[in-house]
């Protein structure tokens, strides 16, 4: 009597989800041993330009570069060299002193030109911004500017500096010193902070507070993640907000104990 059940019970009820053998996205971490410039270019490709209607230059974060370039010291030194050559600009994003945004100088100049001039056509600070972009940007590659540098070396008066701050190109750092800023970056920062929290909570809610990277990337992004899961995952790995453990099934992201 062969009334043996030849199918396993779970199969009968179709509970087992067959793992898709489709295109498994290549682990973003593997095979990236290139230079910092390639890393920045790669992240810039991930940046969603349509979301900001091209008003913002594509911004990469320093932590994302760390996730692509395995040795941090080398990454820092290469970024510093690129900054000195004038290829990239580094700005301080306001929400965390550690998070610095990196963008190609060309992108920054074109976008700021377009966006600021569009917004302030005819207003008094158009002239100040033009002067700033033409004279200060190429000359000084630093993140911040000091009072005497602006007044003596570049010939800005105090009202003009106030106009630059109003236009969003400079942010106050301390009495008499300013950070370079991206006008209109507030929206980006808001989406970024919300998205980072959302992706972290995805890992936190998982069982044992760990998730396979491939599974995380395969999930549907929650509504608060507007910049893309891959963008945020690079940032979390580079900022060491999750520990990366390599396992036989791929990379595992685990929340650190502390």
């Amino acid at each position: 009597m062969s009334r043996k059940r030849h199918r396993l019970v779970p199969e009968t009820f179709g509970l087992k989800r067959r793992r898709e053998l489709g295109d498994v996205e290549a682990d973003p971490l593997r095979g990236e041993s290139g230079s910092a410039r390639e890393a920045v270019a790669e992240i810039v490709r991930l940046f969603p330009r349509v979301l900001f209607e091209d008003a913002l230059p594509p911004i990469a974060l320093r932590s994302q570069v760390y996730s692509l370039v395995p040795d941090r010291t080398v990454a820092d030194r290469q970024l510093k060299a690129l900054q000195e050559q004038g290829e990239i600009r580094i700005v301080q994003l306001g929400f965390d002193l550690d998070a610095q945004g990196i963008m190609f100088t060309e992108d920054y100049r074109t976008r700021v030109c377009d966006c600021v001039l569009k917004a302030c056509d005819g207003r008094p600070y158009a002239a100040a911004v033009q002067k700033f972009l033409a004279s200060v940007l190429p000359a000084c590659g630093d993140l911040s500017f000091q009072q005497d540098q602006m007044t003596q070396t570049f010939g800005f008066r105090d009202p003009e500096i106030t106009q630059l701050v109003k236009a969003g190109v400079l942010t106050v750092r301390d009495a008499g010193s300013w950070w370079l800023a991206v006008p209109g970056a507030g929206r980006f920062i808001k989406y970024f902070v919300k998205g980072r929290q959302a992706v972290l909570s995805m890992v936190r809610k998982a069982k044992y507070r760990e998730l396979l990277l491939s599974e995380l990337l395969g999930r549907r992004a929650p509504a608060s993640v507007r910049l893309g899961l891959a963008y945020h995952v690079h940032d979390l790995i580079g900022a060491q907000l999750v520990d990366c453990v390599s396992t036989t099934s791929g990379t595992l992201l685990r929340l650190p104990e502390t």
Partner: protein, 331 residues
Amino acid sequence: MLGFLSARQAGLEDPLRLRRAESTRRSHPDVHKYSVETVQWYPHDTGMFTSSSFDKTLKVWDTNTLQIADVFNFEETVYSHHMSPVATKHCLVAVGTRGPKVQLCDLKSGSCSHILQGHRQEILAVSWSPRYEYILATASADSRAKLWDVRRASGCLITLDQHNGKKSQAAESANTAHNGKVNGLCFTSDGLHLLTVGTDNRMRLWNSSNGENTLVNYGKVYNDSRKGLKFTVSSGCSSEFVFVPYGSTIAVYTIYSGEQITMLKGHYKSVDCCVFQSNFQELYSGSRDCNILAWVPSLCESVPDDDDETSTRSQLNPAFEDAWSSSDEEG
């Protein structure tokens, strides 16, 4: 408290078990009233040591009689003090307190009238350079770390800037070494570089002659200490290491490349301080779980020659061998 362990330098004969050499009892009339923050042997011999504590005093002790030789009183709690290890022309002790002024106390005259002004908040760590006897580094809760020449009246030499921006007079006030409080300072053994840790969970390596950030990145060095963090560097190794308390473990990094070698796990609670003994190449660490652990480098075993009989003599230190045997005949 780790000062007692350095009694080994004086040559106690039992190298394997560290014995408490001496201690002041709680009933000692001159004992500190609150927690002792820093203890340091007199750099030239062990006849004297200094201790500073939250009870706003710095006490100078005579080791042989365990009596106080001198007391310096301050207006604020003392976070840290240091005596220069190479000083021959001065006997100054640099003291960092809750006030923004760094005080220099002179052991010869007993006065502490020399003050270094420049910081804006409490001074969490001070350290003399092991290369030049007049160069002092201080770290403060206002995110700044400064290098001073104590002979100079007009102010600090360099304020360390993490962004390596342009050096200018006005910039000095805005330069920060870390994005949080600067908790700990340590010069490398040759004095050419300076390591700082901050509550922004970063450790930075600076060139101590021009104050430039060498941009060596150690990753996240978890640091939530509200007081100073005492970490240490090795000396005499072929690539120098820095040992930093990291929560309840000790993280070991190579200084010049930033690579993390290992995490030493052994303590049950957070590690407060660690000290390296270069003669024995050992690390001692003290923690909140009331233990002091001595970390010995594990020596790699030599490969036996093919000719010899395999030596059954184990390569282990005889102290770690068990005295019991599992066979039934012997006891």
